[in-house]
Structures are given as C-alpha cells and as structure tokens.
Symmetry: C2
C-alpha cells in the first residue's frame, strides 16, 4: 500500500494512538487502513462413496487437483460462498452440510473453512478456472498431485474419519515460516 | 474506495475479464482491488461455573457487555487471535479449547469464530477498550445488556448445551436485511 484509497494521499506505517501494531496511516486525511486475513471457503462434494475434485486451469498450481474452494466474497455466508465456488469451478450444485475443516495459515493471512456437502446431480461440468472436474473413489485420489496442503490434509482426515464411521470438525494450522 | 492504493490513480467499479462481479479497478495501472469479509475471533473464558465478560469502553455499544473478541490480525491463527483479544480486552490469559460458534453476518461482511477457553488466572484486569471485566454465573448474565446478537446467541447455545451436558459446534447466520 502506497497511497490512501480514500483521498489519494501518501501513507506511512505507524502505530496509531491506542493501537499496538503498525498500520498504514494517511499523511493527508489521517485514515487508518487495516489489512486482515482472508477466508477461503470450499467443500467436499460427496456422491455415494466418491467425491468431486477439480483440476486447476489457473496459477498457482496449474494442472493440480483440489476441492472446489476460493475466497469468500462480501455479502455471502460461509456456506453460500462454498456453494458458489463449487458452482463456479465445477458447474455443480451442492447442499452444504457440516463444517469439516478449519485451517489457519498465518504466514499467508488465510483461514480455510471446508464443509462436507451433498452433490445434487451428475451432469456437472467445469468452469473457466478448472481443466476438468470428476468424481474420485478413495483409491483413485491423486494424493501426489494435490494443489494445496490444506486440501491434502483435509482429505486425509476425511478418509480416516470415514473408516472410523464418524466425522468430526478438524481445526489446525499450517506454518510456512519457523516460529 | 476512491483511489488506487498501489499507484494513487483513480479507480472505477467494473467487472474484470473472467470475473462475475464489480471490483474497484485502477484506471491508471489496472490493479484490481478486492474487498473480502473480516474474521472476528473471540472466546468464552471459563472459570469453574462462571465465564468472563467485558463491558465495552468504546463505540459501538459503549457500556454493554460482550465476550472478549475482535478482528483477527494478519500473521496469527484463529486461536492466537482469540487469545490475544482476551489479553487485550480483559488482561486475561486463556488456553483456547474447541471452536464453539461460527456465525456469518453477510450484510456487514463479517464471520464470527468463538472458541471455548480455559481462564488461567483470576488476577485479570481490563484493557483500554473495556470499562470492566468480571466473572458471571449463568443467573447473573446481563442478557438485556449484551452488545452483540452474535454474543447473545452464542451464550444461549452455551448454557443450553451445558444443561444437556455436551457442547457442539454451532454454525448459523445473522441477516440485517431481508433476502
């Protein structure tokens, strides 16, 4: 951030009065600009014993597999965002079920929220951001070609829980830098 | 948003290529500026059969009661954010336990994440943003003087679950406009 999005004046990093960390503060109008983590919402669309994965047509991770997921937008609930991403990336309508995985990624300022979901039809297709979308049985999951550690971890929990016959929320963190 | 935070040029609302909703796009450098929901992290600090509430010293809702909670910051996990807010608002150290409540507020672009937590000491105080912090038994909870619907709802679930002897994650939404 170099300029104030409100007045166009220059900004500098300083700790505002009553605050305890540096913020971008406008030297002209005094506006304080906060930057906060983004939420990534997605789901595990289930059809009998198979789940829907999408192969990415965009960077990062072009060509690798993932669950339908993306940045939550203003004006929607977490479940609505997860359903919207599934429609956009896989042309698939789902009923969103329980929250299944919440993963904080503090070094890239993201929080993943992945729900279980019921896939409602088989005539899905793929959107512009996917090369293909298809159903996988557990033994077909392309574990080594997963786009993201969040998705890999979520699916590892998923199949372990399925073998145990009960699904529980999994909350965890992924760090990219040593602490 | 009136100006590009990158180059200081004017921005206009338009739907970028490959996108499906209006974004602030810089007329000079072409930067696309996204605006996404913010996460509010907090906790229910428990000490035996009582919980810790704070009375707000700032607007909005000056003088009303709430759980320690606030905007998640870059560089932290959801649990770290909840613990930090508790330290800032109530001078209290906690061990964060399970996620207990997730509430989407799509009309104000927020997602609340409230954890159960174990309060670690009784010599807490209150920070600059609180008038006081104190422990409440269930029959003392100031239900009519709660600052936020999210907190009121979370505590209603909490005491209902406690009577039933088992706590479960509660996911819900609060709308401010008709749909």
């Amino acid at each position: 951030m170099n300029f104030c999005s409100h007045c166009g004046g220059p900004v500098r990093l300083e700790v505002p009065a009553g605050d305890n960390r540096p913020r971008h503060v406008c030297e002209r109008c005094g506006a304080i600009h906060y930057h906060n983590p983004k939420v990534v919402v997605g789901c595990i669309p289930e059809w009998e014993d198979r789940i829907l994965l999408c192969r990415r047509a965009i960077e990062p991770k072009y060509g690798l597999w993932t669950l339908p997921a993306g940045f939550m937008e203003n004006g929607e609930t977490t479940a609505e965002g997860a359903a919207r991403e599934t429609l956009e990336e896989a042309g698939a309508r789902v009923d969103i079920l329980d929250l299944y995985s919440m993963i904080s990624l503090p070094d890239i300022n993201q929080v993943y929220l992945v729900f279980r979901a019921k896939l409602l039809h088989l005539d899905f297709t793929h959107g512009e951001e996917s090369l293909e979308a298809r159903l996988f049985a557990e033994q077909e999951i392309p574990w080594e070609d997963m786009a993201f550690r969040t998705i890999h971890r979520t699916l590892m929990h998923y199949y372990a829980d399925r073998r145990n016959g009960s699904y529980a929320l999994h909350v965890s963190d992924i760090f990219h830098k040593p602490r």
